[in-house]
Each structure stands twice: as C-alpha cells, then as structure tokens.
Amino acid sequence: MSEDTDIRKIMHVMRRAPHGSIYSYEGLEMILIMAAYEQDLSVVFIGDGVYALKKDQDTTGIGIKGFSKTFMALDGYDVEKLFVDRASLEERGLTEDDLVVDVEVMEASEIGRLMTEQDVVIHH
C-alpha cells in the first residue's frame, strides 16, 4: 500500500446505542482493526450512536463489558476524525461535555458532504 491511490476513505457510522445490541461494540472492534491498515478513517456518531460516547456508563450490573473508554484509544491509532451530528446530540439533551472523548460536532449537511467523498461507508 505504498501508493497514495491505494488509500481509501472509509467512514464508520455509529447508529446504535451500546449494550442493547452488539452493533456498536463490534463496530468499534472493526474500526480498531481497520485503523492498523493506514487508511483514511473517520467515525461519525448519528442518532442513538452518540450514546456509545456517554460519560458515566457503568455496565457491571448488566454483566456486559463496557467499552466507552475504548473510544479514547482511537486517538492512539491515528483515528482522529470523530464527528458527532449536532441534532442527534441536542435532541437527546446532551452536550460535548457529556461525552468521553473530544469530538467535532457538525451539522448534518457537512457530514452529508463528507459521506459523498467516501469510498466506503459502513453503518454499525
């Protein structure tokens, strides 16, 4: 993969809340592996997907491993493009301060424009 043309723009769209189903967790596992391949990765949180980043999650009572803090590790894998849909955050009564990682809050129109630039978009 030495040629620039082999670098693909891959966007992961987190759409599901954590714990109620496995999609968010296995989505994160996929992102962590893809991050090792030096592609142009971005992660976008839309709808209930934003709940995966909520602070103060304590899953001990439900017996499922928590993973919100793993999103903090993405930075170490050079996945620095974390975008959150502003409307999704606001309609859930959340602000950036409620999230475990630094993200860029964006308008849907901007995220939509980014989507059209992608080679691959995968929803989780």
Partner: protein, 119 residues
C-alpha cells in the same frame, strides 16, 4: 466492476441474507465480479452447515456454497464474531472460510464497491 459485500445479519431472521444473495446473483449476471461476501455480527450464522430448512423453503447456506463454488465468490466469516457465536471450521459450509477483520479491510481496499446488508 469488482464488488464486496458485508453481511451483518443471520439467515431467515431478517431479509438481509436474501437481498445480499439476490444482489450478488444480479451483479454476476451483469458481468461484474463479486469478490467476497464477508460475514459479520450475527451474519456469521450464515456460515453454519447445520441448518436444515424445510424442503419448500430456500436453503440460504446452499446459496453461499453455490456462489463460492460456481462463481469464485469468497465467503468469509469474521473469526472474532464467529468465536462468540460457535461458528468454526467443524460446522463451516462448503466454500466458506474463517478469516480476520484485516481481510475485510483488504476487501474494502481492493474493490470498487462495498455494500452492506443487515438489520
């Protein structure tokens, strides 16, 4: 055109596996190469040979085997997702294989399109 497919839902419970198959069939008929079908989440349940649907129902596992053997489609189940769900080489359908998420990344890189089917 070269096409990869990501299938994120198991057979029968949801239409995703059927749509993925019908799409693959139509793409091949139009002269495209369906490079691989990568099974993820409960999609790995597509890879078991132990299913035994009634005679008057479609046999989804047999469809994957046909695509693999007749059209050279790689049918790949994610190892991490498979281990969680009891899918391994002992139950693997003919033409199917267990592989890692790195392979999905390769599929995303080497194909013109990657489509997702799921719930």
């Amino acid at each position: 055109m070269n096409i990869g497919i990501l299938l994120k839902e198991g057979p029968y419970n949801h239409q995703a596996a059927d749509t993925a198959y019908k799409f693959a069939e139509a793409a091949i008929a139009k002269g495209h190469k369906v490079d691989a079908i990568f099974l993820y989440n409960d999609g790995v349940n597509n890879a078991t040979r132990l299913g035994d649907p009634p005679q008057d129902d479609r046999n989804i596992a047999a469809r994957w085997t046909m695509l693999a053997e007749k059209h050279g489609v790689e049918v790949l189940a994610c190892i991490a997702a498979s281990k969680r769900r009891g899918i391994n080489d002992d139950v693997m359908i003919d033409g199917g294989e267990i592989t890692g998420l790195g392979t999905l990344t390769d599929i995303a890189i080497r194909n013109d399109r990657l489509l997702t089917f799921g719930d």
